[in-house]
Amino acid sequence: MNLEFNEDQKLLFETVDAAVGRGYPAGARGEATSTERGWNDDVWNTLAELGLTGLTIDGDHGGVGAGPVEVYATLEAMGKHAAAEPLLDGVFLPSWLIAALGTEEQAKQWLPALAEGATTIAVAHAEPRRPWGSAPSVAAAHSGDGSVVLSGVKAPVRHADQASTLLVTAVDGDTTGVYVVDAAAAGITRADGRSADWSRASQVEFAGTPATLLGTTGTDATAAWHTAVARARVAVLAEAVGLMESALGHTVEYLKNRKQFGVPLATFQALVHRASDMYARVELARSMALWATATVEAIDGGADVDLPAIADDAFVFVGDTATAVAEEAVQLHGGIGMTYEAEVAHHAARLAAITESFGGLAAARRRAVASESALRAPSALLNNA
């Protein structure tokens, strides 16, 4: 029974923390997201050199085959610096999808490039005004020559502008599949914009766009899709924890250093007690994120647990905390905290983006409350009922 990093995981956290920290001094997120690429290329290259782009990819395909705790350690460190590099969206999630659904040939085609950090893949599932949990409206059609084309609209697609390839959910009759589409394929119209956290996102329209099914025809991908997404939804909470810890840290420093009415803000007990409450909330959220991560690890080890349900529970709890902590961090900074130049503003924006990712917090709570597990007595240990 143990929810701590082991020595290797600690070292991993410290390595990423140091490497990313060098690339992300104060104000760096704003700069990184306003480059053409939307992130810091030097940091990306460092991450690739450290093998982090191969973190979730097995050794046979050029990666290191690490588990969910390593993902947690990496993403918490990324969050700590509000780093913009799309490890999760552009590499981890696509690698999980390809590993779960792809043929060996497809795995060989895509995973090594991802592991090298040579490319990113964008996952396109969300559609305007369509619930995340519903089957997609994008349709796959078979043309005479046996090839498949996609039609329909996806938005937002995170980091689609830089991706070489898209993984697109689509329906073929009653069967949901994940399709591989070349970013430069015919019949793609892309309108690029940004997310509320200043990272890039696009609307992508497909009109008879050639595509290849990931995996084997005739198998419905819904369950595998939900499992991979649940994994990503747990992983993104690590980033949220890093962001929250950092927002709290900046707030504490601000209270110590900023003077008003001639004295440091830390003189005002009302503000100090609110910082203490922030701390308590962040630690509980960290525990929840670690627990969900450990549960994913247990599932990888064969435990029989409903991963999407766990992901909903953890997402709701950490998401609520993220909202409250972000709001308090901004409020305790006052006007300064509202500005693009403030670190906490970027923390708050990214935390908001996380809470509305993967279908958003309200939908997660709707599922979680409807689930029969909502009234099941909680026990964090798997064999301690």
């Binding site: 619930p131 008003q260 009302a270 006007g335 693009y340 708050a348 509305e356 939908a363």
Partner: protein
Amino acid sequence: MDLELSREDIAFRDGVREVFTREIPEDIRRRNALSRTTHDDIVTTQRILNAHGLAVPHWPVAWGGKGWTPTQSHIYASELQRNSVPQPLAFNVSMVGPIIAEFGSEEQKRQFLPATANLDIWWSQGFSEPEAGSDLASLRTTARREGDVYVLNGQKTWTTLGQYGDWMFVLARTDPDAPRKQQGLSFLLLDMTTPGIERRPITLVDGSEEVNEFFFDNVRVPVENLVGEENKGWSYAKFLLGNERNGIAQVGTSQRVFADLAEAAAGIPTESGTLADDPQFRTSMHSARTTLLALEATQLRVTGASENGQASPVSSLLKMEGTKALQELSKLRMRAAGDDSMLLPPDGDAGESLHADDAATIAAAQYLNQRKLSIFGGSNEIQRGVIAKTILGL
């Protein structure tokens, strides 16, 4: 008690509503509801209102005021908000206008008041400074008298919409040796074309560019642009803060946001129906709804009391709880939009959204932007302090 508007008040309401909905172009009001109001929208609106005698109703009657009852003032503010009409520029109509009308010279009144009412002059506020946000007594900007000019040096910040400012009203220190920090401040009118002024825009978290910093380097202000007496600026600024702030709780705005969201919900699909059927959403909306009823009832109490000539100390409460309610609604709007709120046009809030659902598209950015409501204009922490001191005696 009486929960109905009188016949006269209904006629009054219908009159202002007619102007707001018929005379103010619908596209202006639509952009305002989506927080995309432009400079021209504000100018156009205020000039239309002014033409109908509705831009500066609270000014002295001699300068365009209407001498309304508190109920009429309440109706006016509420209808503006409910119909999503861009508010007449507060710096003009609620701040510098009343100050000039009360403390200015006849010459200043003639020069500035009509142009201020008609937004021929766009005013900016020069109060806050980096080291004195909520603590105006600590202002450091100086205005040194040299013959017939004041020489202005220093820095002002959080200047909302200052990028459009033709003139700025500035609180500056004219007597650095005054025994109390509150003394020695003067209220100056500054033509923004004067040499020595530099502006730095401040981008907010959501990308909006609505606030600015200004730097003054030996800016020369003619002494005739001093309002009232030298070193009395603090009392003029306090006059503003004591002014009844109609519509401060923004209940009308919240009512409109609520109605828009309720309507949208019926068209937002969930896995099993629409958001309008979702118990979580309905619970949050019910909570917002009852809060808005309580806020509006509080406003009615305040208005009713001022009809009877009583002042009310609850403007801190209205500011704090009213903006909190609006913030909650903005969060609820973001939650309702989910992923749909995560694709903004690349140039921030200026362009059109990439897909048709404007309100969903801007919901997250709007949520972030609205954090300002509990900070600007007297933060919630300041309001709690005011309540403790002036009402609870703590």
